[in-house]
C-alpha cells in the first residue's frame, strides 16, 4: 500500500466564494449550544437502548446460526441478525461513543476512553487517526490521510499514476475487506512496515506498539468469529464459520458504502495545507461543511448508518450525540443557504452513483 500525497494545487481555493466566517461561526455555535442544553436523560436512555438491541441481535444471531441445520432460513436470519449487531456496534455505538458523544454520562462503559468495538481495528488507533487527524484536518490534502486512504485518486490534487487505471477494482477490494483497511490505516499512514518516514509528524505511539495492537486486536477478531464460535457449534462448524464470514462481509460493505457517500461524493471539496494555517473557528466550520455530504433516508436507515447519513452535521459537531443531528440538520441547512454555501445532500442512490462516478472519473488523468 503506497500513498502519494504530493499536492499539485491545481484548484485555486481562492476561486470559491467565501462566507462571512464570524457570522457563520456564531450561527453554528448557537445551534450547537441550543442542542447541548437539551442533551440529557433521553440521550442516555437512547444509547442504552441501542446497546440493548445490539446485544439481543448479536446473541440471537449467534444462536440462529447454529440452528441452520433445522431450517436454512434460520441460518439466513442468523446472518442478518449478526450483521445488524455488528453494524450497530460499529456505527451507532462504537463510532459515536468513541467520539466522546456520551462522555458526559460519566458511565465507565459508555465513554470514549474505555470503548472498544467489534471490528479488527484497535479502538485507540482509530481514535488517533480518525478523531484527531481526520476530524481536525478534514479534507486537507497531505494532512487528512482519510482522503482516498492513500489508495484511491479522488481529486486532481493527486498526480495520476498507472495504478489509478484499475482503482475501481481496488475500491471493491477495499470495501470487501473494509475492517482490515481501517485497521491497517494508521500503520500504512505511519509507514510502519516500509516506505519513507515523514518527519513532520509527531509520533505519539511507537511503531512496535502499533504493530502489537494491530496483530493482537485482529487476531482476537479472527479467533472469535472463525475459531471459537464455530468450534462451539461442533459438527455445525462450517455453518457458523460461513455465517460469520458473511455477516462480517455485509458489515464491511455497508460501512464502507456509507462512509464513501459521506466523504467522496462528486461535490465534496478538498483543501490545501495553507487553508488551515491560523484557521478561525468559522473557517474550520466552513471546511468541515464542504468536505462532507449527507444521505437522505428513513429512521431505521439513519440508525444503521450511526447517523453518519448526517455527515455534515457530524463533521461540524462531532461530539454531540448523533441522534440530535436530525434536529440540527434543517437549521444547519438554513444557515448554509444564507451564506450561499452548498449543502450536499441527496438520496442514497444519487449519492452513491456520484461516488462511483468520482472513483471512475479520477481513474483517468
Amino acid at each position: 500500500m503506497h500513498e502519494t500525497q504530493e499536492t499539485l494545487a491545481t484548484q485555486p481555493t481562492s476561486a470559491r466564494k467565501k462566507p462571512n466566517y464570524e457570522i457563520l461561526a456564531a450561527q453554528l455555535d448557537e445551534i450547537k449550544a441550543d442542542i447541548k442544553q437539551k442533551v440529557g436523560a433521553e440521550d442516555a436512555a437512547y444509547i442504552r437502548r441501542i446497546i440493548f438491541i445490539q446485544r439481543i441481535c448479536e446473541w440471537s444471531g449467534r444462536i440462529l446460526l447454529m440452528l441452520g441445520f433445522l431450517q436454512p432460513l434460520l441460518w439466513v436470519a442468523g446472518v442478518l441478525s449478526l450483521a445488524t449487531a455488528k453494524i450497530l456496534d460499529n456505527m451507532e455505538i462504537g463510532h459515536n461513543v468513541m467520539h466522546g458523544q456520551y462522555d458526559w454520562m460519566n458511565d465507565k462503559h459508555i465513554n470514549s476512553k474505555g470503548y472498544e468495538w467489534d471490528i479488527a481495528c484497535d479502538g485507540a488507533s482509530w481514535n488517533r487517526v480518525h478523531n484527531y487527524e481526520h476530524h481536525t484536518y478534514t479534507n486537507i490534502i497531505g494532512k487528512d490521510r482519510d482522503f482516498g486512504y492513500g489508495l484511491l485518486r479522488l481529486s486532481n490534487d493527486f498526480r495520476w499514476r498507472v495504478k489509478n487505471l484499475w482503482q475501481f477494482a481496488t475500491y471493491i477490494v477495499l470495501s470487501v475487506l473494509f475492517q482490515w483497511g481501517v485497521s491497517y490505516h494508521e500503520m500504512a499512514a505511519e509507514r510502519v512496515f516500509f516506505g519513507k518516514k515523514k518527519d513532520n509528524r509527531k509520533n505519539q505511539v511507537t511503531h512496535n506498539e502499533l504493530k502489537k495492537r494491530f496483530f493482537s486486536k485482529g487476531a482476537r477478531q479472527l479467533v472469535k468469529d472463525y475459531v471459537l464460535f464455530p468450534l462451539i457449534a461442533g459438527p455445525l462448524f462450517l455453518w457458523v464459520f460461513a455465517g460469520n464470514l458473511i455477516a462480517n462481509l455485509l458489515r464491511n460493505l455497508w460501512t464502507s458504502t456509507i462512509i464513501f457517500c459521506g466523504h467522496f461524493t462528486g461535490d465534496v471539496e478538498t483543501f490545501k495545507e495553507e487553508d488551515c494555517k491560523n484557521e478561525s473557528r468559522g473557517q474550520w466550520y466552513y471546511r468541515q461543511a464542504l468536505g462532507s455530504s449527507n444521505i437522505k433516508g428513513g429512521n431505521l436507515f439513519h440508525v444503521l448508518t450511526g447517523h453518519l447519513s448526517f455527515q455534515i452535521e457530524h463533521h461540524l459537531f462531532p461530539d454531540i450525540p448523533a441522534r440530535r443531528y436530525r434536529e440540527m440538520a434543517p437549521k444547519v441547512q438554513a444557515v448554509f443557504k444564507q451564506h450561499g454555501m452548498h449543502y450536499n445532500t441527496g438520496g442514497f442512490l444519487k449519492q452513491y452513483a456520484s461516488v462511483l462516478k468520482r472513483i471512475i472519473r479520477y481513474s483517468f488523468p
Binding site: 449550544a33 442516555a44 439481543i56 481514535n127 478523531n131
Partner: protein
C-alpha cells in the same frame, strides 16, 4: 471465576468486564445494576429542617455492613448523568443488621450537584452506592471520649452512639458531645436525648458560636479525653491546634467547604496546584492544563488541541475546571475532562 470471565470478555467481546458487557441487558430486569457499584433501594426521603434531608436506603444483601462512622459514595443518575457524592452513614451497624437499612443525613447545598436533587428520589427507586469506606470509627482507647461536631458533622457521631449504646460500650466510659450548629439548625436532637436517657455516661451540649463562642473555649475541660472531631475545616483546625498545645489525642474527619468560584476571578492570574499521578505541579488559571503539563514536560497524550478529538481526555478526581470554549464550570467531583480546553479554577487532581 470472575477474573477469568473478565479476561474472556476482554479478549473476545472487547469489554473491560463480564458484568459490564451484560450491564444494559441486566438493567432491564434490575434497575441500576452496575459494574463496580452496589445497589440500594430508596425507602424514604424527608426533610429534617429546611436545610437538612434524611434519606433511608436499603442496600442489596451483598453490601458489606459498615462500621459506625464510615461513609459511602452515593451515585444517582440525574438527567442521564451519573452523579456521585460522598455521605456519612448516620446509623449504626446494628441498625443495618436489624432493619437492613442505612440512613444518610445531609445538608442540602443550593449550588450542589447532587443534594438539591435528592428530594426528587422516590420510594422504591434504585440508586447506586459504594462499599463503606473511611477510618473515622470508634477509637480503641481507655480514655473518656469527647466528640466535637460541627453542622452536618454530627452524622458519624450519631452512628457511633447508635452502636455504642446498643453494645453497652458507653457504659464503660464517659462520652461527651459538643454539637455546634447555627441557631435552630441542630438536627436529630430527639435521638440525642434518647441516647442520653438510655445511657447515663453519655452527655451532650448543643452550642452555637454566637452564644457560646468558638470551640476552643470549651476544650480545656476535656484535656484528659480522646477527642473526635468532625466538621468544617476551620473548626477542625482550631481543635487540632489546641490539641497540639496540650498534646491530646485526636481522631478527625473534616470536610473542606466546596471551593467558591467566581467568574470575575478569571481575569486575575491565580495559581493552583495540579496533582497528577502522585506528582504535584503549580499552575495558573490563564493557560490550559494541557499547555502547562507540556511546559512541565510531563507525558501527555493529545491531538487537535482544540477540543475535538478527545485524545487529551483524562479523569479529574477533584477540583473545578473551566471549559475555555464555553466558560462552563465543571462539577467538583470525579469527571472526564479534556485537558486542552480546561483551565483550573481551583486546585485540581487528575489521573493521566
Amino acid at each position: 471465576m470472575r477474573l477469568l470471565l473478565d479476561k474472556f470478555t476482554d479478549r473476545i467481546f472487547h469489554h473491560g468486564s463480564w458484568k459490564g458487557y451484560w450491564e444494559v441487558l441486566m438493567q432491564q430486569i434490575k434497575p441500576a445494576w452496575r459494574d463496580g457499584y452496589f445497589r440500594a433501594r430508596v425507602v424514604t426521603v424527608k426533610n429534617l429542617n429546611t436545610h437538612i434531608l434524611e434519606v433511608v436506603l436499603e442496600p442489596d444483601s451483598s453490601w458489606p455492613t459498615h462500621a459506625a462512622g464510615q461513609h459511602i459514595a452515593l451515585t444517582i443518575e440525574l438527567n442521564g448523568r451519573l452523579t456521585t457524592r460522598v455521605f456519612t452513614i448516620a446509623s449504626g451497624a446494628n441498625t443495618h443488621q436489624r432493619d437492613k437499612q442505612i440512613r444518610l443525613v445531609t445538608k442540602v447545598k443550593a449550588q450542589g450537584a447532587l443534594t438539591p436533587y435528592l428530594h426528587t428520589c422516590v420510594p422504591n427507586q434504585w440508586v447506586n452506592i459504594s462499599a463503606p469506606m473511611g477510618e473515622f470509627v470508634w477509637p480503641q482507647t481507655e480514655k473518656p471520649l469527647l466528640m466535637i461536631a460541627g453542622g452536618s458533622g454530627i452524622t458519624p457521631f450519631i452512628a457511633m452512639l447508635d452502636d455504642a449504646i446498643n453494645n453497652a460500650q458507653v457504659n464503660q466510659k464517659a462520652v461527651h458531645l459538643l454539637y455546634f450548629a447555627k441557631p435552630n439548625e441542630h438536627v436529630l436532637l430527639e435521638e440525642l436525648s434518647t441516647f442520653s436517657k438510655r445511657c447515663e455516661s453519655f452527655t451532650y451540649d448543643t452550642l452555637t458560636k454566637q452564644r457560646d463562642g468558638d470551640v476552643e473555649a470549651h476544650l480545656s475541660y476535656f484535656a484528659d479525653a480522646h477527642w473526635l472531631v468532625c466538621g468544617p475545616h476551620a473548626m477542625f483546625e482550631q481543635v487540632e491546634t489546641y490539641a497540639k498545645t496540650i498534646s491530646a489525642p485526636v481522631s478527625s474527619e473534616h470536610f473542606a467547604a466546596l471551593p467558591v468560584v467566581s467568574h470575575t476571578s478569571l481575569t486575575e492570574s491565580e495559581t493552583f496546584s495540579l496533582v497528577h499521578n502522585g506528582q504535584s505541579l503549580t499552575i495558573d488559571n490563564q493557560q490550559t492544563l494541557l499547555l502547562q503539563l507540556q511546559q512541565a514536560e510531563q507525558p501527555v497524550t493529545y491531538g487537535c488541541g482544540m477540543g475535538i478529538c478527545h485524545q487529551c481526555q483524562c479523569v479529574k478526581k477533584r477540583g473545578v475546571v473551566r471549559d475555555t470554549r464555553t466558560g462552563e464550570l465543571s462539577d467538583s467531583a470525579e469527571q472526564l475532562i479534556q485537558l486542552c480546553v480546561s483551565q483550573a479554577v481551583t486546585d485540581v487532581e487528575i489521573q493521566l
